[in-house]
Amino acid sequence: MASLRSNPVALVSLIVMVAILVAAVAAPYLAPYDPAAQSLRLRLRPPAWLPGGEPGYLLGTDALGRDMLTRILYGARVSILVGVLAVAIQTLIGVGVGLIAGFYGGAIDNVFMRIADVQQAIPFLVLVVAVAAVLGPSFVNTVLILGVTGWVTYGRVVRAQVLSLVQQEYVTASRALGGRDWRIMLLHLLPNLVAPITVVATLTISAMILIEASLSFLGLGVPPPTPTWGGMVADGRNYLVTAWWVSVFPGCAIFVTVLVINLVGDWLREALDPTLRRG
């Protein structure tokens, strides 16, 4: 972790990322209002520092007079939770498939990898939008769709890693000692997979957050009244000329979150990859 000190960008990103996490977790305590509390008479008020702004509404209000700051804080919960849960499902499926395919090879490997090929042949976003349109918008559906459709990267990374690991002497030794397959996979192979999985997971969380935002923007993600960043950007489209803040602030939230997660992911990749480790 020494590299963190020599990498100020990563350090700042990490701090911002932690701050976003804390804000999401503590949203009910930090947010000044209830996210669903509307006040039509205060609709489309600009941010507090602009003329016409209400002092109590720092980032202004949306078309129904709901507090933008509150909704962005609550929106962070949805975005991050969807991102994390989707990645957890992807990891579970991907690691399972990758381990089995890489370890046994042969026909099993062939079947799994062809399934992966087929799935990768369909553009990810198109697949996700199609499935979301069929299943209907809901939080659980969004998580499941992203989770189940996104395992391929994990599967491939894990399989490649396993293919080289099974040649190692300690695996042969364990086999010679009569170690069962599942024991070798869980005790000897899995620990060696943690670093690459962590890197892939960090980088895909930001992708999942972006896709969740796209789905919500299209009205196929988590349905209203739950505040989502993508949904808020979509809501603000009609008001861009007269009330830019309704779209711009949640847009910034998506941008900053995805950026810092990617920067942290990059740093993690360097820190965990022995070949890139400096002197």
Binding site: A36, A37, Q38, L40, R41, R43, L44, A63, L64, G65, R66, G219, P223, P224, P225, R237, N238, Y239, L240, V241, T242
Partner: protein, 508 residues
């Protein structure tokens, strides 16, 4: 309150004074130029008897004619029929215009009228208008240009109905398969159909032999643009010449543009939420339904979402409709009373139900639905809101069974008579909100067949009191339709949302 009073005055004044945009169809010179019209949604079908939504009708009114024409003052005048009279209680004699031809050259005659009025009656045809046509017992051809229309019971509204039913060509329809009919209409109207690329554009071209005279504008394109801001931007950039449903908060901006104008008209459309007690037993309790109405703050929505350009209604009837009892006061906004009623009904902790609402069809429809959900949540009424694209909402609505516990919709009357909503919404089409009330049905059916206006008015008065007490629909407001147009268009909007291009001309 002043805003409301002003809105009310505006409404009444406008309904009386909607000036006769004298139909500019007598233009002698050849049609020229082009107009692009952007509505919020595309046509559902181009078979006039397989659709019943205003935007489809708006397009079809340019391709087809009706026997009787409802003019901009909402009065009835001759269309494809030159005169009509009552022979006995259930028989109307209609004399047809001679020398009219369809776009394919076939002459229009009594055969076509008989065919057009009897076609939707076939049970297997599945017309969404079948309920309205059901009053037709049959059509007898007297001679080539005279028909007798028989109704199953005395039906004073027949002329009003004949003003909304388009006349099809018997020869063309019988020779053509249904798939083609739904995308390739042939009528007698001012414009001939050219092409339709679904969700992109629908093109029409002037019918130079139109019986009313050649239209002034040659080419017409209808473009569906669901997004408010995109629609306004398309008008501002000059891509389109006329847009529907300018949101109240953009009105000043559009009006301020030197090349653009805002034209408004009090709409015959009103908004409501239908509650279906058969899908969610909670909504079967009249106390619950009343509680929801008490928890609805329509004034707030009208004042802040619509900047006052809408009028609160008390019963499901638009102002200016025959039979409306204006003395009925809307439910006040009373969240306390709503909580009491919920508690009385056995739900002190609140209730939960689902609601379908469209986006892109009505002015600020999604915002209105979300505002309602927000208001109701304050008294413990939680709503799972499904925001549907209009085509989805319409499909669900037509099928009835696919709708959830409640749905947010608008109703535009075409006959300007209480019969339209009361019969169509509560008696004849129970699948849509599954409301059944024998007492109400009795009154509506009796009023439907009475030829005495005073008696009908009294019956509708009673029916309104039942609806007011029983609240099968949460009544909201009747809006003002706001159109954005290029300022060189000589055109005034109609209260029924039809855009008749043959009444439009350019001033430069």
């Amino acid at each position: 309150m002043e805003v409301l009073l002003n809105a009310r005055r505006l409404f009444t004044a406008s309904l009386v004074l909607i000036s006769a945009t004298f139909l500019g169809f007598a233009a002698a010179q050849a049609p020229e130029g082009r107009i692009v019209i952007a509505q919020g949604t595309d046509a559902a079908s181009l078979d006039p008897q397989l659709q019943n939504d205003a935007f489809s009708t708006s397009i079809l009114a340019n391709v087809f004619d009706t026997l009787i024409y409802r003019n901009a003052d909402l009065g009835l005048e001759p269309g494809l029929a030159t005169s009509w009279e009552l022979l006995d209680d259930t028989t109307w004699r209609v004399t047809l215009r001679e020398g009219v031809t369809f776009h394919d050259g076939e002459p229009f005659s009594a055969e076509d009228v008989k065919f057009s009025l009897e076609r939707p009656l076939a049970a297997d045809f599945g017309s969404p208008l079948a309920g309205r046509f059901a009053i037709i017992a049959g059509v007898d051809i007297v001679d080539e240009f005279t028909v007798d229309v028989r109704t199953t019971s005395p039906y004073p509204l027949l002329p009003a109905r004949l003003s909304e039913w388009f006349m099809l060509s018997k020869v063309y329809v019988e020779a053509t398969d249904q798939a083609t009919l739904s995308i390739n209409p042939v009528g007698t109207g001012a414009y001939e159909f050219v092409e339709w690329v679904k969700d992109e554009r629908l093109v029409l071209r002037a019918n130079e032999g139109y019986w009313r005279g050649t239209p002034s504008i040659l080419d017409v394109t209808f473009r569906p643009i669901p997004e408010l801001s995109t629609r306004v931007a398309a008008l501002q950039s000059g891509d389109v010449d006329l847009i529907t449903n300018v949101p109240a908060f953009r009105q000043a901006e559009v009006d301020g543009n030197a090349n653009l104008d805002v034209r408004t008209v009090p709409s015959t459309f009103f908004q409501y939420v239908a509650l279906d007690g058969t899908k969610n037993p909670v909504l079967d309790d009249v106390r619950v339904r009343q509680a929801i109405q008490y928890a609805t703050n329509v004034e707030e929505i009208v004042e802040f979402l619509f900047d006052g350009a809408a009028e609160r209604i008390a019963v499901p009837l638009a102002f200016g409709t025959f039979g409306l009892d204006e003395s009925i006061e809307p439910y006040p906004y009373d969240p306390e009373r709503a909580r009491e009623l919920l508690a009385e009904a056995g739900y002190p902790d609140g209730i939960r139900f689902a609601m379908d609402a469209p986006v892109g069809r009505y002015a600020q429809d999604k915002e209105t639905a979300e505002a309602l959900v927000g208001q109701w949540s304050e008294v413990g009424i939680d709503v799972d809101l499904n925001i549907n694209e209009w085509s989805v909402q319409l499909t669900k609505y037509r099928a009835g069974t696919e709708l959830t516990d409640s749905h947010f919709m608008g109703w535009g009357t075409s006959t300007f008579d209480a019969d339209d909503v009361f019969f169509g919404g509560f008696v004849n089409q129970p699948t849509k909100n599954n409301y059944e009330n024998p007492e109400l049905s009795e009154l509506v059916l009796q009023a439907r067949t009475s030829l005495d206006p005073a008696e009908r008015e009294a019956l509708y008065g009673e029916a309104q009191r039942i609806l007011y007490e029983d609240v099968p629909w949460i009544t909201l407001f009747q809006q003002v339709d706001i159109y954005g147009v290029r300022d060189d268009l000589d055109w005034q909007p109609r209260p029924d949302q039809k855009i008749e291009v043959f009444t439009i001309s350019r001033t430069r």
